[in-house]
Symmetry: C3
Subunit: 395 residues, 3 copies
């Protein structure tokens, strides 16, 4: 029986675990390691920060959903991996594996800009449940005494979506509360232009976003480097200083400590088309943890985002590849990963389809409407229902 | 009985006079001083210049509309104000006051650019009835031998609307006359981009104006400083020289001589939220005469426009404040001023609503259609009917 | 009987020949000289290159259509013109004339950029039937192993339309074949912006083209100079190097050798409003062969395109002027030339009307739709039917 260890309990880790069990049944001994004991539906974190969701609405206990499927759950942080000896290391034990799946997600690079981030810095973040809850507290305080808001993404960021969503949601909520006129809003980004999203844009996304921000009277400063954050102020490389009562900035990402030494200079894992580590044949990696080369060098550095949809797709292909290995079959052919995502815009949403993710694409769609907002809300419920039951084969 | 003197017989002065009489009746002795003896519906001046209106269509004799309301009219120019002794000075008399309302409008700064303006310069202007009549004469001459037209706003301008209206009207009229192909048209402005209007733009006004000018094949040179006008040519800072057969340029504005010493370095009066002078408690000021700080520093200097709608609103608030003072009540709470205006586009018009005028705004609307042109035409008649009767309380 | 010699058997030459015969009948001895023996409907050449047309679909034998009208056809290249002795020179004979019509079209300036063009260079061209057939062969080979495509117009180009059409057609065909995602596409042009077309744009053509290229995910590099083409790579002045599997670049044009000495420094013939040579009273010239001054100096040099529609118009006016001369009447008044063209966009087409061609214009239309594609297809058949019968008077 092959011993498979999975690091990470989000989209990638859960999907890989369920798929491996489905494909291999008793031929696989699957263990999932995670430093948090619940699955968090990350796409809804901006809604936590706005007070539109409560933590219990978007979380599931990992043990309860893994155990019925015969998957072992260890609530511990992986602190290292000994790839040569095929062992995962935690504070209390060493876990040997035949196959390892790294679905750890990213480490957040708050130290890249002085004053960035909610721990020791001056900006909010909405990339973890903890951060989103803290941002919601700051938001409620802000509403009592509103003032300037600055939202954006610093240099080196790859995941721009939540910054856009947060900007649109803040604008929408302030209008609902008839407070918008008290809040000068500015969006600052390292993208060469808004609507770039780290993927070189998607059809007319540039024009669409320029019009949307103009229409909402949110000022845009693109192609920009942030020098530092100080209390209540962000200082840009161009010499511009923007005061703020609340600021939310996406940080750059890197590989997590435990697997950093297995990756590229930023700690991201280099993988082949089957998501297999380029040097270690029994290590696979999926999701934010892997290397994806950007479509173009941007003047201010940016990276390519990896969405939950992409991660799930990768996890399924990685599971198939491992199963093939164990069953003595050749590695399956894989298709390049595509992206399907719905960006919340507060009072409506944008559907984006990109296949492959980077141009030139076979499929490229960009549509905006209230119906996509409804779809986004419905999908959240549907996905939680699906993952609770381990139904990874449903679309 | 409180003696109130009002300088100015346009939107601000008339509205203040009628409102003070309405609120105070016999408790107020109201005198209105104006160097011209008629009310001119200034928004229609571009139509005078195009020959679409005659002077009698848009003017009313001041004495005839003020006397029936018990308001004294003095057809004299105020040449000075002695604020310490509370006296308005003219060439023939000194008029003491308990309260002074400065609704003088602006002085036009033609001397700011060599060759600017219709008196001693080479460009037309449409900011006074006299200028508009002169521009109409030049226009009729131009039509006999058409050639290049340059329209715009020099550095330091705050009132951009008439330049836009004039450009659209000239384009529309030339098309009607099948002469457009003989007239290269260029729009030169100190705004950082067209559609800025001195108010940082209004929703998608930038894109809308860019498309409109492109669609009409009017070339745009924005963010530009004019060096000088010489006969038949304007010379820009960038080294561009544009020949013209007719040129209309908006001039910058300053405070009028009589009250210049009561204002900021440009002669504009600093007022509080009740339109009371910041140093002289019995002096109030409304309309173009007051200081409004711009929303942002623009690369080429620009100011914030003040429309008739804004001026009326201010005049009502100022009158309420003076009345409260006289009746021994506390100053009323006021709301920031908003703007509602219809910009003529020749063959259609644009409705613009901004509340407050500067971003961040509670209300921001921008719509274009032939129906707004009809509304603009109807409003002109309605307003003249209303002001003739002193019905300032009608919307 | 006046002896009239016409150089060129395309739009200009044929139209002039038919018109002269129609106007003068037996008073004119008309001879048409052409180095190819067939009329080619040049607007359809991009369709040849895509395999959407065969050569026989868009060609007609010159002799067969000229002889019935009493026009003599000589299948020889004009190698020179002796304007002082009024003789056209070929390799085998000297042909005296009373009037000469130069409708020779252009010489293609492939030598202007190292590596440009299909003869000795590395790029395709679609300006002659031979080139279009060759491009079609390269295209079929390309489809077996697709890769990057670069399409555009080098510095000095005046005829941009075919480059746009080819880009849209390649995009459309690749999508039909589900190959688009294997083909990064880039459009490189000397125009200051796309949609300029050498005529300073046409209404909102800039925005329209920017949106169209974004929507199709074709990258645009405008205002650009090409340094050189090497095998499988184009090198731009900005230092950018673009690899390609297939590249199609429009070349600049000049006057043909035989008449170069009669023209401006580029060999284009200077003519008056009647298309009469400014120095030689019995020489007329129409179409691409003549001088048209550009509407503006562009940062990277460009010229003004001359379409078939324009050429026909010129040929009719030239014929009328010659006929008037022969009949002893004064030269007729002419109108400036306008342009009506339909740009194929693969899956739809754009109608462009410009009268005059350069701004300021009396008429300027820009419309996009599938119906214009149908119109373009129908016009091709109609025009071939019409020219076969010499019916130049039909619209």
């Amino acid at each position: 029986m092959a011993k498979i260890v999975i690091i990470g309990g989000s989209f990638g880790g859960l999907t890989a675990a369920f798929e491996l069990k489905r494909l291999l049944g008793n031929k696989a001994d699957v263990t999932l390691l995670c430093d948090v004991d619940q699955f968090v539906f990350v796409p809804s974190l901006p809604w936590i920060s706005m007070g539109w969701r409560k933590p219990e609405d978007i979380t599931l206990p990992l043990e309860k959903i893994l155990t019925p499927k015969g998957i072992k759950f260890i609530h511990e942080e992986a602190t290292g991996v000994d790839a040569d000896k095929s062992k995962v290391i935690t504070k209390t034990q060493e876990i040997p594996y035949d196959y390892l799946v790294i679905a750890s997600g990213p480490a957040l690079g708050f130290s890249s800009v002085p004053g960035l981030g909610p721990e020791g810095g001056y900006t909010e973040c909405i990339f973890t449940l903890e951060q989103a809850i803290k941002t919601n507290k700051s938001w409620n305080k802000f509403l009592e005494k509103p003032g300037p808001v600055v939202i954006g993404a610093v240099q080196g960021v790859s995941c721009f979506g939540p910054a856009y969503e947060y900007a649109f949601e803040v604008d929408t909520e302030l209008r609902k509360r008839k407070l918008r006129h008290k809040v000068p809003m500015t969006f600052v980004t390292s993208e060469p232009y808004i609507g770039h999203f780290g993927i070189g844009g998607l059809r007319t996304s540039r024009r669409m976003m320029e019009d949307e921000f103009a229409d909402r009277e949110i000022k845009v400063i693109a192609n920009q480097t942030v020098e530092e954050f100080v209390p209540d102020e962000v200082r840009l490389k161009d010499g511009i200083k923007l005061p703020f009562k609340i600021a939310m900035f996406a940080p750059p990402m890197a590989g997590v400590k435990a697997v950093f030494h297995l990756g590229n200079p930023k700690g991201f894992i280099p993988v082949d088309a089957n998501y297999r580590h380029k040097n270690y044949k029994n290590i696979f990696s999926v999701g934010v943890a892997i290397v994806i080369a950007p479509p173009e060098q941007t003047p201010v550095p940016t990276g390519v985002p990896k969405t939950g949809f992409m991660t799930e797709h990768m996890a399924k292909d990685a599971a198939k590849s491992i199963a093939a290995d164990i069953l003595g079959k050749p590695s399956p052919e894989t298709e390049p990963v595509g992206a399907l995502c719905i960006m919340d815009m507060g009072n409506k949403a944008a559907l984006m389809k990109a296949y492959p993710v980077l141009p030139p694409r076979r499929v490229a769609e960009l549509k905006v409407g209230i119906n996509y907002k409804w779809a986004k809300q419905a999908f959240e419920k549907y996905y939680l229902w699906k993952i609770k039951r381990g139904l990874t084969q449903l679309p």
